[in-house]
């Protein structure tokens, strides 16, 4: 990649796979469980987090030399909360429909541990450009898992993808339903999100044995 040095590119690529915030660091699980019942919600959440984490990392990194370490967590919280509120207000004024879809996530973004985690672990100690890449990379890694989980939960739970009935109509019994297939309503409940994430963790670690922790 000509645009980014190899080190910089890794900031984006690592969190997508071998240092994924959800499957490796096990951060941000709460929102991953809460909103992945639908693919659309997963995508919206992923994009919101990319935006907030990318921008938040930049802000924190710019302020890193003047933040008193005693109150740094509060400062980080204020930055996330302010960013999220600004985004929410601007959307309410200029993209009202979208803001209604996002309303559910505002609280979840502020409390997302990945955001605080990256501020604390990366942005406070690194330059602006690298922090930006790190933010985008980690949010993308988080979003990737969200979208995978959302895909399976919506497909198996409701038989739809992004609201389209891809497996046929369950009430009129067309498509797959005509041969006796049934939606698994359990997929829509949070426990199955945990199990799907667990399966992803298993798949990833069995493909790359280096990732298995030693006890």
């Amino acid at each position: 990649m000509a645009l980014l040095s190899k080190k910089d590119a890794n900031l984006i690529l690592d969190p997508l796979a071998d240092n994924n915030p959800i499957t490796i660091q096990v951060l941000g699980i709460c929102s991953a469980l809460a909103i992945t019942a639908e693919l659309k919600a997963s995508i919206v959440m992923a994009l919101s987090v990319v935006f907030v984490l990318g921008l938040g990392n930049v802000v924190i990194s710019m302020m890193r030399n003047i933040i008193p370490s005693k109150i740094r967590i509060i400062v980080q919280l204020v930055v996330v909360a302010a960013l999220v509120i600004i985004v929410d207000q601007v959307l309410k004024a200029f993209a009202y429909e979208l803001s209604k879809t996002l309303a559910v996530f505002v609280g979840l973004i502020i409390t997302n541990c990945i955001i605080m985690g990256r501020f604390e672990a990366f942005a406070l100690g690194n330059g602006v450009w690298r922090s930006f890449l790190d933010g985008i990379g980690n949010a993308a890694g988080y979003g990737l898992i969200l979208i995978i989980v959302g895909f399976f939960r919506e497909l198996l739970g409701s038989g739809t993808l992004l609201g389209f009935q891809v497996l046929g109509d369950p009430i009129a019994k067309t498509g797959l339903y005509s041969i006796g297939y049934e939606n698994n309503g359990f997929m829509l409940l949070s426990p199955m999100a945990l199990i799907v994430v667990g399966l992803l963790i298993w798949v990833q670690r069995s493909r790359n044995k280096d990732l298995i922790e030693e006890n």
Binding site: E38, S69, Q89, K92, A93, A103, G163
Partner: protein, 248 residues
């Protein structure tokens, strides 16, 4: 300057609060006009949606009248906006701006609430549209219900603040809202409302006089919230409905 001394910390915190506070306050006041307007349009869209004025294309879509036309359509379809306050019924062109939640709070404190009714006219038929407000699993749910003078539901619109996506949030899906059309809120002479029922053995909703619609799987509490929202609201408007029915 020493970054770790208390004076610096306090100064930094105060400055940050002032800066962030002013940015947010400025933004809120600068955008509040547009936000209010959006909310107004949304209410008009929802009311029109309940009476079947919308741009739905196929079986799954929920498309409102676009915002640039909604004001005009609203004034042409809604012929009268009434406010019921105790026994008094007055006309009020701004009735749709009444915050039903505040009015229900008044009721709780023993005061007389202002209850809006929107009278709509479409294809020679008269619709009476009432706002509803209640509680789902996580947060508020609300909506509008259009009735004819025989208390048959002509259409509904539901919305929610934070119900679970894929479960309770589906109350605003077509397949749920459409089930209400044709149901009656009367059971004999009693204002029974409409129950979101789990075991009504009528998934295609062919039986229209059972005061029941089929529930959403996995959304029991949201469904119960919808049931109780409808029955509470319907009972608030009982006297007005009674007068409509007696008018014949």
């Amino acid at each position: 300057m020493n970054k770790e001394n208390n004076l610096y910390t306090v100064l930094f915190a105060s400055l940050m609060v002032v800066v962030v506070g002013s940015i947010l306050a400025y933004l809120a006041s600068a955008l509040s006009g547009r936000i209010k307007e959006n909310e107004r349009f949304e209410k008009q869209q929802n009311i029109l949606y309940a009476m079947g004025v919308n741009e739905n294309e196929d079986e799954g879509s929920v498309n409102f009248i676009p915002t640039d036309r909604v004001e005009q359509e609203f004034s042409s379809y809604i012929t009268e906006q009434l406010v019921i306050e105790g026994d008094k019924i007055t006309k009020d062109d701004q009735a749709y701006l009444i915050d039903i939640k505040k009015q229900l709070d008044l009721l709780k404190n023993g005061e007389t609430p202002k209850l809006p009714v929107f009278v709509g006219e479409k294809d020679g038929e008269t619709y009476y549209i009432i706002p509803m407000y209640g509680k789902g699993l996580w947060d508020a749910i609300w909506g509008f219900m259009a009735l004819d003078k025989n208390m048959t539901v002509k259409g509904v619109y539901f919305d929610h603040k934070g119900e679970t996506p894929g479960l309770g949030a589906n109350i605003k899906q077509r397949y749920f809202m459409d089930d209400f059309s044709g149901e009656t809120i009367l059971n004999g002479d009693r204002y029974a409302g409409i129950n979101v029922a789990k075991g009504n053995n009528d998934p295609l909703n062919d039986i229209k006089d059972d005061n029941e619609v089929d529930a959403l799987a996995g959304a029991t509490i949201t469904g119960n919230g919808v049931s109780s929202m409808i029955s509470t609201t319907v009972n608030l408007y009982k006297d007005y409905f009674e007068s409509l029915r007696n008018k014949g």
